[in-house]
Each structure stands twice: as structure tokens, then as C-alpha cells.
Subunit: 130 residues, 2 copies
DNA sequence: TCAATACATTAGAATCGTTCTAAACTGATA
DNA sequence: TATCAGTTTAGAACGATTCTAATGTATTGA
């Protein structure tokens, strides 16, 4: 992303020092799956001393503006996904890693949803061994 | 289940008062999705004064013996499923409820897994609106 | 330019589901 | 029935996340 400050402003987010650093990292063109912890570690390596509270705040702010997707994969932590298109994932529990599945998959044989409910979205999670 | 004590013994679990009550409820022939909290509430209504610690212990003991499946649907709580067959779910975030999808669904167009990894299982979660 | 102010950052406390600890209890066995 | 391994339990601890409230900063309009 060339002009992160402009990008943040466009999304009604003040381009603070912290948000610029985080947005520069997250939206560098390479899709990422981060947790508060993995992001914090990455920022520490970059010598960016951003508090955990701000990391949580920023992830949620970005999420609220639709810049990130939330993935509820396991009960231990929340993943945020920079790929906001509808897509599926490989998940390796072993190395706690997600990999995007961008090809168009089809689910067939789906039964009707229960009365008065309608399908919002279908999520396929492919668990990997090892 | 007719003989819960025998059933527990068969699974190398001592048929204690608490386990018998919980197993009688969980394995009554109707598949269930419970959390520690929903199970605790149900047991309270049945006037069974079983501590939360025991509820957690028992759910995990049953899980370890393969009598329950664990479902990591969201980051707020762990669901245990009495249906241990491979199957999929409708999930209503709104009423925090899971519904089994027992029909045989097919996922087509799945790409190859990454090098050195193989597919363990495919889980389809159908999110319901409302 | 520069207050005034609305918004953002932060350390640390609080929350909450879950796990751990260690003392009391009980089912299995002889 | 005594023994003891396995179980239950209250309450403490844990860990991810959220909250609080004090401090800092981006924005803006005079
Ligand atoms: Mn939890
Ligand atoms: Mn969490
Ligand atoms: Zn993704
Ligand atoms: Zn199920």
C-alpha cells in the first residue's frame, strides 16, 4: 500500500503512528492470518513498541471497518484474516497455521436450513494432519 | 441407554454417581451439543448438584474415551458433541445453537494440501442468519 | 499557528471460560 | 471391611481478551 495514511483516513480511522505501522504490515499485499499474539511478536521484531491493548484495539477497529475478517477456528485465540473475500482454509492444528483456499469449491448435498433460518455463509475448514 | 454403569465400565470409567447422572443425560439416544455451562444448567434443573470442576473433568474423560467429539466453533466456549460420527453442522450464532447435518455432503474443487501435509478431515460449517 | 477538543494509546485491573491443586471422598478389590 | 487408586470438589491459578481511566496526540478552526 502506497499511501497508508490516506487509506486509513478513507476508512474513518485516524492515521496514528501505531495504526500506520500495523496497517503497513498487515496490508503489504501479502494476505496474512494473525492473532493478537503473533502480531505483537512481529511488531516486537520490528522494534515497534506497541502495547497489547493497542494491538487489540487496532485489530477490532480494522475489523469494524471491514478491513479484516475474524476467524473463529479454535477456542484458544481469535484469528484475523487480511483476505476479506469469501474463502476457505487449510488448518494445521499442529503448527497453528491457516492457509487460504482461494479456488472455487462447491458443497453439494446440503439440506434445507431449519424453518425461519436462512444460510448466511458456508465455511469449509480442511484439517491437516501433522 | 439401559445399563449406564456397564457402559462406563466398558469404557474404563468408574461409574461414580456423578458420571452416571451425566452419562444418562448425554447418552439418552438423542444427540446433543453441550458446553460445560449448558450441561451445568441442565444438571441444576435436574437437582443434581455436580460441581463445575467435575463437569469439566467428566466431559474431558468422555472425550478421551471417544464418547464425545470436541467442536471448536467459536472462541468463547468449547462444544461437546454426542454424535461421534463424522458430520457437519448448521450454526446459529444468534441462539448459539448447533444442528447436525447428517446427510452425505460432498466438497468438490478442493486443491492439493501443502507439501508433507495430508488431509485429516473436512468440516463444513453452515452459518445461519437470525 | 495553536489552543481546544475529540479521539487514541497505555498500564494495569477486571473478566470469564477453563485448568490446576490438594484435601476429602468413594468405588473396586481382596 | 480395610485398603487404595481413582474421583470429586472448592477455590486458586491461568490466559486470552476487555475494560478503566489517566495521559498523549491528530484535527481543526479561529
Ligand atoms: Mn474458553
Ligand atoms: Mn480467548
Ligand atoms: Zn484466509
Ligand atoms: Zn453434531
Amino acid at each position: 500500500m502506497k499511501d497508508i495514511k490516506h487509506f486509513l483516513r478513507q476508512n474513518s480511522l485516524r492515521p496514528t503512528k501505531q495504526r500506520v505501522i500495523i496497517a503497513n504490515y498487515l496490508f503489504d499485499g501479502i494476505n496474512k492470518h494473525v492473532t493478537a499474539e503473533t502480531l505483537s511478536n512481529k511488531l516486537l521484531k520490528m522494534k515497534a513498541g506497541i502495547s497489547l491493548a493497542t494491538i487489540y484495539n487496532t485489530l477490532h477497529d480494522f475489523y469494524e471497518k471491514g478491513l479484516l475478517k475474524k476467524l473463529m477456528i479454535n477456542s484458544e485465540r481469535i484469528y484475523f484474516d487480511t483476505n476479506t473475500e469469501h474463502h476457505h482454509h487449510f488448518y494445521s492444528k499442529n503448527d497453528q497455521k491457516l492457509i487460504d483456499i482461494n479456488v472455487d469449491m462447491k458443497v453439494s448435498g446440503l439440506p434445507k436450513p431449519p424453518k425461519n433460518k436462512k444460510i448466511n455463509k458456508i465455511e469449509v475448514l480442511v484439517h491437516l494432519d501433522n
